[in-house]
Point group: D2
Chain length 496, copies 4
């Protein structure tokens, strides 16, 4: 007897056509429970990065941290949280000679976009400079990081990580910069690309957002008046904070015992380049991002799609969990009943065995069960949020066909993705992007479905209530707001 | 500065009003990939028990196993699977004196219902008896296990586990039983309660189901003709097997190199006592249980609820993920739009910190985000599958109210749960069951909602296409198919 | 370039010609620090078994334990000791209905002689019988264990371990035995072989030694008057106990709140069969075993060897650490200077890589460095305690020769080992014993040394101050005090 | 009943009066088995540092490493060695454009003397500089490290470790240095203190020793002609290498595919400051250090002590294991018999519980058993290598007295230690050094012994066959070869 059965195995990434997420950050100043609130905030941002997590606390002029690879709850165990909390809440200022106890916490959850997955890359980065410790947590990608690394290495600086973020530390450590009247601003002026970041100093937190506004960053207030910062509003919600406003593109907000202050290190770029993909895929549906609730955006993408690409069918069915809101919008707009007939296995994220290409079918079967009692002899509209590589979608369509569907109409709630992102989204390489290589008709044929339609670029921007000019839609158009091939020369800035 | 903020923490159980699940079993005879297929089967049954898992393989007259605490993918790592596979596929029968290589695999995923969570309780139990090794995997609860333990201990037998299942092993080990013409049947005739089980012998697998038919157990056929058994059809689907039929109440099916054979150890009880809660909550929606697809049952429970308890509202909203199918049914039946406005955090299952009662609100907030942009000033119908303790549901309702809903109408797709289960479901104790202590109106008041309705007992059974007599509905009625207070006396059976 | 250099690797066992040790036991009744004293006692008995360790504590009518694989300090970590101590010292007898708080501790350190190295074999074995829990810790080997296992399995008993010790539990659990007036004695009368053991009941400890007296077992008194038992006097010394006397062959001593009592379950066998190898190799040199200090025995073995087998040489050199005492005795008796020229690596015990035969030389070189500045052009007498396989000794001799010794005279402080042990010592199999297969002259030739002499049988017994008849010297003579081929038939004893 | 018994617990350090050891290094160029040979070398140097270990391999222009906390065998598991070996032996030079495959390995075993015990301090340090990777392994302490750290931080350099060694990396990374004709020499000229080190470049290894010659460093040749470097000759012995010579003070030796070359970066200091304590305590007795075998030095220290401080007694007894060689020398010189009566527990090194001062007696009892049958009513001479704090020695003496010795005469084979070391030995602080605070008579009184004598400074140097001027004896005299209070100013060197 031979081993004829292919071994069906999988992991989450391999059966997903979705891009990989990047990072989330949180910051809290002076709240007695800041360590635990930071944990909650990171937990709520877990969808922005599952590879590593960490919290850093400033207290009595020093900085300590707990960091590691894995999910927030794996890394920040009760014991480790307690250790950090003890450190944070120990007040040495009662000694007559010491200043008042200043304290703050920042946190980071990471999916590596630039920089490998090594331990040394786990954020917040904590470094000791000549005049004291700092910690940095950063969401986004710089396009001139490599140029700076080359330049600084040539000057004798030693880099320990492969992350963009370490460049910022080296720039901050330079004596001219340190001695300038605003070191944070001077450092940020040397950066090009996407960055929403928080820097923990011994006496304050500085939060900043790049002039293009690529990634979100919001400010809130805890019930006791302490300020808090997070990548998304859901994190502030979970901490029990009230949302105040977004950090603006080009703005630095300082959190300290003197309260909140704001200044600009650059003018906002006009037009802005806010990432539309945060609404399409990244951000938590419960978050309000760039002033608009994400779940409602997705319902409206679906409704718009129903207007643009109607089709007669027995019911609308979402690809769980990603297509659910858009499918709702499509169904309610079209009047076609909404039913779910694909059952996801909630444990698949924890599977580990790598599939070969042949095993993909088995892998998909393990992740999703199509209920044939629902789809048999039915005309179904399948709604999903995006298609990146297409391989997994194809397997899913095959399953639905095998379960007996008579017609399959696929509707995707964003335009075809044709170009890579250089600002924090880890899509596949261009040649792996199915829409980079194939027309919509070719993709339909590849998927083996009866019709396939994508949301139009205009339709998408209509939903965003905005002009194209305010959003980065480079992944759909190939038109980048900053030319990734031409980073700024690394010149020492005036202040530098 | 005092620590005024309560620390919001949680675990999955603590914020769920759902009962705990029990166990799932799989078995495969003589397939070369049986170890990996067993792994896939268990993976698909993960929802039936997340506490421990294991596989046992019979090969060359011996039995080996891999077992441990945790999820299937944590316990059955690639290394351990490979070790077991090597063992299973090593054929020593080429030696001239040895018989043909007979081999099979059984597996188990466990949530402890009886028996603590100790390592020794992890199944399959593997034991060496005088005439060889056996392994057992069992889903269900016996009501006469303690009586047998007392009796057998008095005779000098030593018990190493606190599980019901070990009783079966001791009964099987007794010389009279072993020497009877049908030891498995003789043993099963001594048991009372719920049991769907598989026994791995060196030369065969025997699968049996109690005469009342409490728990499901299905037979399938792999593409190469090898037989397979599982608790639910989804497990057979994932293995790539074709469903043949259910194991019948009172039946023993033997899988061996001689093919399949069937016999009865008892007549089916009339009326049967199939667990209706498998359809309400337990089973995977993609499974066909007791002859009917579970997802469709749940849609129909929702539709029936819309007929029984209509209400005017802006939209129907499911409690994710448990209420989604019933909410679909309710919406499509009533014509009221379906929208989702509660966003679950997919990572909460991994959280570990135990909440105090006061922290429950924060815990619920971490698990679920209500999107106020959706519910504000709206009349919403919330559909869920069941209410056990009610504490979590209350917090969820409070969140929805705080998000601005103008009216909240709760619809539950089963009747009130008033009595504990002795046949494999770990509800709370009676005084923890909210419907044991309160009327529907009192529960509505406790939840702080505008209306609350449960599906009627008749409505539920109508959906099941059956007479009440064919299902155990004791948790809703208090009428038990076997009196748990009066187990059979432990007499040695005729064959014993 | 080829990989010409053999990879030199090793483990401790592989470069040792020594037999493997068996087990050590301790017991303490009612001392408030019994858990920590038990830990210290086990620590002092670590040389008797490095594979696993455990402590069991009886308290309030129940028994709890901490056990695991590894060294005493690896298994019994501070956390685990504290847990067990909390359990042991928690007094529930203040409740009006409960009896006075009775409590005791037993411990075991193990090298497996019979029974594999599985977790289930780790002692103390803890079992629940019909009338309560017991724990057993046992040093020695039974020769009728397999016969009893066969018999009891046939009766339907289920064995979970492969150790001899479980037989005792099954015999104790039998109702007739339990109901006899002295269950411990009735059980022990069914055993044949070597056993020094302690049994922990809820209200007492019983310590017993087989009628042949194979293995040591001593009784002591702690400063507060609490009684303590251990395999060797060093363990009692470390606990701070005063040595009282040996447990006698055939005696049971009971430790309870009523004080010490003694009774016999059998007459001592005449002649006794005390293991002479405890003095040659096993026991800690600081212990007094069978009434005589072990280090002094070893010095005298060396002195006797100097009388029997003198040789002219530049100095006497011990094989560290095993030959040091005998080399001292030899040097002081002969007047030849004592020098150490072989330096042991104290970390080798932790090495793990298995050597192939060719790598043995490199392995030995890593374990021992011969100082050529000492041995070059010198006639050296090398003294060691025993030779089992000879392979390692050969490599060591080669090293000494390569370091430049002009003559090598080997003196071994016991007779040639020609037969296996069935009473607790894990020598190699007979054909691996070099003296089973070769004459002394052949061994000398194999070792490549100038002369080789063993201590005579008479000389050894002279040192023991005793007749041959009082010691088991079967490994040197092949004459066994009980025929291992003819165990007693398994008949139910009178009381049974 | 109260808890009257103190809990006797201990760790190795706490019951030792010995100083802590520092570090050992190894290096091998181009041998195919260099990774495994490096492992063996480190294993043989384990006595020089038990806190952390690591190997770094250069191959194909890159450097990879395996490092961690713990013993060599804990850190460098077979899996990790294999990974590093695969990396080291993978030859990418067959590609037409790549240069010949150059490869080498360096290793380090560490006890932290300066720099905490953090993971980032584990050596070899591996860093990427502008023109490629380097790794450094260093034995010794710099006295101007902190001055350089201050200076370099001020210039904007970021330090990640607290070790002296990182200073070297930053100096090497500076462009002027890198661009000098001999960067290694230019860097070394900036250092002051003790350093024996090996630097792994992509195309060579450079080994250097400070101009004072504080720490040993030896060069050897493997059977295939490959060069090897190690801190001590035992490491070369274990690798199977032939000893060639010491690296000279002020010398740099380069190992590359072009063979060995030597040059000086500084003139040797006259007088040299070779550490005499390597002979007294540190080095492995089997090593030849500074041209003389260590074990023979120790025998001679003992013999010299017998000449200087004779006493009538029944026997000479070593403090195991440290005093054995000197006790041998004393006994053979004096003609008084040598006997061992103190039995060490070989497992104590693995104990972990920290003793309080009161528990020290129990701790010592667990570590050492004095055999009263040997010492009772005897006049004993106890020989040990050194006394640092004296607390442990006092407990040992008390034990010997309690075991019945009628007279105790203590002889120490080095002079009293009165001053701390700044060149790599971690003694206690000055006020913890018993001889810093007490006269010899006061120490004798403190120890409670009948006589106490130390080896004279002259006697020690006589044994070393040398003038005082060639050795650093600052710990005995307080006269430091370099003033630790006055490090060189941090000026950029000519080449810098």
């Amino acid at each position: 007897m031979t081993r004829a059965v292919s071994l069906p195995v999988l992991d989450d990434a391999s059966i997903s056509d979705s891009p990989k997420e990047e990072c989330g950050v949180v910051a809290i100043w002076n709240h007695p429970q800041a360590v635990h609130l930071g944990y909650l905030g990171l937990f709520a941002l877990q969808h922005r990065g599952q590879e590593a997590a960490g919290l850093a606390a400033s207290s009595n002029g020093k900085i300590n941290s707990q960091r590691g690879q894995g999910l927030v709850s794996d890394v920040l165990t009760p014991d480790r949280l307690q250790l950090l909390d003890n450190y944070y809440n120990k007040d040495e200022s009662s000694h007559p000679d010491t200043p008042p106890h200043k304290r703050g916490v920042i946190g980071h959850t990471r999916y590596s976009t630039a920089g490998g997955s090594g331990l040394e890359n786990i954020q917040p980065l904590v470094e000791n400079m000549f005049d004291g410790p700092i910690a940095i947590a950063h969401n986004g990608n710089l396009i001139n990081a490599n140029a700076w690394k080359h330049e600084l290495s040539k000057r004798g600086q030693i880099f320990h990580t492969s992350s963009d973020t370490e460049v910022m530390v080296h720039l901050l450590a330079h004596p001219d910069q340190r001695n300038s009247h605003d070191p944070t601003a001077a450092m940020l002026q040397n950066l090009q690309g996407a960055f929403s970041l928080v820097i923990l100093y011994k006496d304050r937190i500085e939060a900043a957002r790049d002039p293009w506004g690529f990634r979100p960053l919001v400010l809130g207030e805890l019930p006791d008046g302490s300020p808090a910062i997070a990548s998304e509003t859901v994190a502030l919600d979970v901490m029990g904070a009230t949302i105040i406003r977004e950090i603006e593109p080009g703005e630095i907000v300082t959190l300290s015992d003197e309260g909140l202050t704001s200044r600009r290190f650059a003018s906002p770029q006009a037009p802005l380049a806010r990432c539309v993909f945060e609404h399409v895929y990244f951000a938590n549906p419960a978050s309000t991002v760039f002033g608009q609730n994400v779940l409602i955006s997705r319902e409206r993408f679906g409704a718009q799609l129903a207007i643009e690409s109607p089709v007669d069918a027995d019911f609308v069915m979402p690809m769980p969990d990603s297509g659910r809101s858009a499918a709702n919008g499509y169904a309610n707009q079209s009047g076609i009943p909404y039913r779910e007939g694909i059952v996801p296995n909630r444990y698949v994220g924890r599977t580990f065995i790598k599939p070969t290409q042949e095993q993909r079918a088995a892998a998909v079967r393990l992740k999703l069960n199509v209920v044939s009692e629902i789809v048999k002899d039915k005309r179904v509209i399948i709604v999903d949020d995006s298609i990146v590589r297409g391989t997994t979608t194809r397997e899913k369509m095959k399953q639905i066909r095998e379960a007996g569907a008579s017609e399959i109409h696929v509707r995707i709630s964003c335009p075809p993705i044709i170009s890579p992102c250089f600002f924090g989204v880890d899509f596949a390489t261009p040649d792996q992007l199915i829409a980079h290589n194939k027309s919509v008709e070719e993709i339909r044929d590849y998927l083996g479905v009866d019709s396939l339609e994508f949301l139009s670029h205009e339709g998408m921007l209509d939903v965003m209530h905005d002009q194209e000019s305010g959003y980065c839609t480079a992944c759909f158009t190939g038109k980048y707001p900053i030319d990734p091939e031409r980073p700024l020369a690394c010149q020492v800035s005036a202040a530098y």
